[in-house]
Symmetry: C2
């Protein structure tokens, strides 16, 4: 095992009706006024908006609304949120929604505490040194943002989709009620499942050393994601399946699966972000297109791990068969596995690869993920 640090200071409040506790939780923490960050109508449709507002009012918590977060949250809207947070002198962020609302909320939390241009933190030209406390209520299990220190934002002007990473943006408390995910559609559930699997296999396949313990935990999570996804697609209101999927999704990217593996890159996300920055495609769809291609391209770099994956997850014996089985599973749940399915043709690849190369440069891995390499991988995804 490689040396590591593990620190996950988010308190998870998990289960039925837990969203009703939000007011009381904020009050106990001495919070008086929050910026209430959310997307559009969906939290109103399921009655969540009212329950949150009632809980805040009962606890005497003031709030300023910042709605209209997009599903790939954008810089301009985030900047509006920062302005609002400053003008209204809120003492915390309350993000209600999926990874998008939470990521925008985290970014606003950073922006509210600095006079610097927020995009510089994404370009890694500035280091995060403070943020407002962040509270979340999750309505879509996928990104893991509710229990980690990452946030992804798209700069619409430059088409860059970049992330920040800091201990200061771990939510202080995240409320996870699986019932709030009952209305996630089959299509979005499929994308969410792909995203969670991606979070796990990024480290699983790019590990420098690959301890049995981390492997076993990763495989436990993947098996749970696959099993619960199949149940959810058949029976969307199955509480136990929604609950196990939700918790697996949180554990998939809170650092647990990464402990001791050393190294560990996020290449599938890199290329998926390159795609998602240009085309307004769901993140999970970008991933299901990229993953089989990347696996084909990478498999000989860590053959024992690909063979282990094939055997443990699908009961097949070769790396090739494992990749095929995962691709088939993506198809089965309704996720696209080729660029063709989303109407992207070969002549668009150089442009996507250029975008990917720019992300690789920000991450300092452009020596591995050059423009040519990304093109090569994307061609396998045609």
């Amino acid at each position: 095992m490689e040396n590591f640090e593990f620190y996950v200071p988010t308190r998870i409040v998990f289960g039925k009706k837990t969203e009703e506790k939000i007011g009381e939780i904020l009050k106990k923490d001495g919070i008086k006024k929050v910026l209430f960050v959310y997307g559009r109508e969906s939290i109103k449709k399921i009655g969540l908006y009212n329950r949150v507002v009632n809980s805040l009012k009962e606890a005497g918590i003031e709030f300023v609304e910042h709605s209209g977060v997009k599903s790939n949250p954008v810089l301009s809207h985030t900047k509006e949120g920062i302005k609002k947070a400053k003008e209204n002198q809120v003492s915390a962020i309350l993000a209600v929604g999926g990874g998008s609302a939470i990521d925008e909320g985290k970014t606003i939390a950073v922006g509210a505490k600095t006079e610097k241009d927020i995009w510089k933190f994404f370009k890694r030209e500035e280091v995060i040194e403070d943020a407002l406390p962040i509270y979340t209520i999750l309505t879509l299990a996928a990104t893991g943002s509710e229990m980690n220190g990452f946030a992804v934002i798209t700069n619409e002007e430059t088409k860059e989709k970049l992330n920040i990473s800091s201990i200061y943006i771990f939510p202080r408390v995240s409320i996870l009620n699986p019932e709030l995910t009952y209305t996630v559609s089959s299509q979005y559930q499929a994308y969410a499942s792909v995203d969670v699997i991606a979070h796990i296999i990024e480290y699983y396949f790019t590990c420098k050393v690959c301890p049995n313990l981390s492997n076993r935990i990763s495989e436990s999570l993947i098996k749970t994601v696959m099993e619960t996804t199949e149940t959810i697609l058949k029976d969307p209101r199955n509480y136990n399946a929604r609950a196990e999927f939700m918790w697996a999704s949180t554990l998939a990217l809170n650092g647990l699966t990464r402990t001791g593996v050393g190294g560990g890159l996020f290449p599938n996300h890199l290329i998926a972000h390159a795609l998602g920055g240009i085309y307004d495609l769901p993140h999970g769809a970008c991933l299901s297109i990229v993953i089989p291609a990347w696996m084909q391209w990478y498999k000989d770099e860590n053959k024992p791990q690909f063979e282990r994956f094939a055997k443990e997850i699908f009961g097949v014996s070769s790396a090739e068969e494992g990749i095929k089985a995962l691709t088939d599973w993506f198809k089965k749940i309704g996720a696209p596995v080729s660029l063709k399915e989303v109407n992207i043709s070969e002549n668009e690849i150089p442009n996507i690869a250029e975008n990917g190369y720019n992300i690789a440069k920000v991450q300092g891995i452009e020596n591995i993920y050059s423009k040519e390499v990304i093109e090569e991988i994307l061609k396998k995804a045609l």
Copy 2:
């Protein structure tokens, strides 16, 4: 899944030479003076004492020593530590050792912040409302105390072995260097392995609902513990085995395996503590004696889980065979599996059961673990 809260605010610094960072870590946290809690000579023999002292001195951290912690830490020595912490106005506890040093350190951290009789917190007559910050350097992986909010102390006068549980006694930082466990003897490694397995199976078998995800994580940890124990017993300086064992041991009792299971008792520990309170036996030995007997007694209460355990861990098909396989494995690693092996005879059982019943009363589970029931279980351990 049942509703749950999960909050583990301990920062883990894991790997080679990490103990050398202790001074710098304390300094960064603004700590000026610590009570340095440890056992006897063992940390001096391996050179750890000097490395810690040098690191503290380099960082300008003052320290007051409190050595002589026993392997089942006792109340009288803990009280001396509390007195020392108060007199010297230390601002934190630094516990260096195994679970005993950490548990005594945690208790001192509570005692230093109150004028109340410390034993009342163990009797659950008082509630913990504050504690000094706790830092640990682990030298024996077993109890999980380095990343949880529990501490166990023995009252020598009353023979009670009781625990406290509080969010305030999670260590702020725990340093885990697997190399520091190279000198743990085969015998103590075996006891440690039993203890870790016990932590996992307590919840695994007494779960109210038993989610596949929690089951898979528990099984991942058990498999890792068994595999690494066998390697360590053959090759005590195998870094990877020591490392995976150490991290599995920490994860086994930080709340992860318990998420969503609901209920969850600690009956094997209850009876083992009843034994350990009277006889000065290693905690792991008490557990390896109690577990097979308790499993026999309990198996029909949660048959699917016992069958699952048999299949997943040992590849056998019945609950009975699973219990036998675990008992055989305890024997194989050199842990006792009967009272006879530690020279305790049938006529001593009522006295142990009486002690166990008193612990059950403190825990509020005397309706399940009556004196008669504990006697019945202990008779199966003859």
